[in-house]
């Protein structure tokens, strides 16, 4: 049986998937992708060149999870890192709407349900991100947290 055994459409709140143990998934910020978003509302500019965003656009970084997360554990190394849960917040001049990790700070596994996390483009490449995934398709939760936090899509 493959991992994708949860029927599409059960919804992101399918409780048993949060009660059983999770599927391990580890990444670092070095593996984040560069995306271009509109400054006004955080919407993604499809096909834009991250190296040359338009005047009203900004390049940020994103890690997309292949399934909805059950928990995420963060371990910063030599650099401070701010973790954002919406694209618009990652554009903000201040980090007040972020998880602010000091150098060498390690969180406990935080029971966070999301499908993506975001960083400023200049984020250090050494943040360790260890997630426990459910088997629920990330499409069930795409942009849900983001729109709750203020993004337009």
């Amino acid at each position: 049986m493959g991992l994708a055994s949860i029927p599409r459409g059960v919804g992101h709140s399918f409780t048993p998937e949060y009660q059983i143990s999770a599927v391990p998934y580890s990444r670092t910020t070095a593996q984040s992708e560069r995306i271009v978003v509109k400054n006004a509302n955080g919407s993604i500019v499809a096909g834009a060149n991250p190296a040359a965003p338009g005047g009203d656009e900004t390049t940020i970084r994103r890690i997309l999870f292949p399934k909805i997360t059950q928990w995420i554990h963060f371990k910063a190394n030599a650099d401070d890192v701010n973790v954002y849960f919406s694209k618009k917040d990652a554009l903000a001049a201040t980090a007040s709407n972020s998880l602010k990790l000091a150098a060498n700070e390690e969180t406990l596994p935080l029971r966070i349900r999301c499908a993506a996390i975001y960083f400023i483009d200049g984020v250090a490449n050494n943040l360790q991100i260890d997630a426990g995934l459910t088997a629920i398709q990330s499409e069930e939760f795409t942009e849900v947290v983001e729109t709750f936090l203020g993004d337009s899509i």
Partner: protein
């Protein structure tokens, strides 16, 4: 599917919302910029009922869960520069003593349910103040 999928009126004790993982909600603010509740008390309100809470401040300070305790500076949760454990705390509002902690910056790391905060407004406060 939007986030506000829980019908209004299910109640603050809708168990599945505390069994599944929570919506991340991170906010950092200086205490003296928060909502003025009078009597030198400031407050911070979450948009939904919390499932868990962790705190990290830029110095020693105290978090209260009702105004009366914040005024009296009693029965609070002390926090500091090391992030606290994520406590399974169900509430909608935090209170602070502005005289003592007004200049402090507090990072609130929280996981939210999707249950409307109106289902739980003033419930913790009423309980705590009745037991003072």
């Amino acid at each position: 599917m939007g986030l506000a999928s829980i019908p209004r009126g299910v109640g603050h004790n809708f168990t599945p919302e505390y069994q599944i993982s929570a919506i991340p909600y991170m906010r950092t603010s200086t205490i003296n910029t928060l909502t003025d509740e009078g009597d030198n008390v400031r407050s911070f309100e979450f948009p939904k009922i919390t499932q868990w809470l962790s705190f990290k401040a830029d110095g020693a300070m105290t978090v209260y869960f009702c105004k009366e305790d914040a005024v009296a500076e009693a029965n609070g949760l002390p926090v500091g520069t090391t992030a606290s454990y994520p406590f399974n705390i169900r509430c909608t509002k935090l209170y602070f003593n502005n005289d003592t902690d007004g200049v402090r910056s507090l990072e609130k790391r929280s996981g939210l349910t999707v249950i409307q905060k109106e289902e739980f407004s003033n419930v913790v406060e009423t309980f705590l103040e009745a037991n003072n």
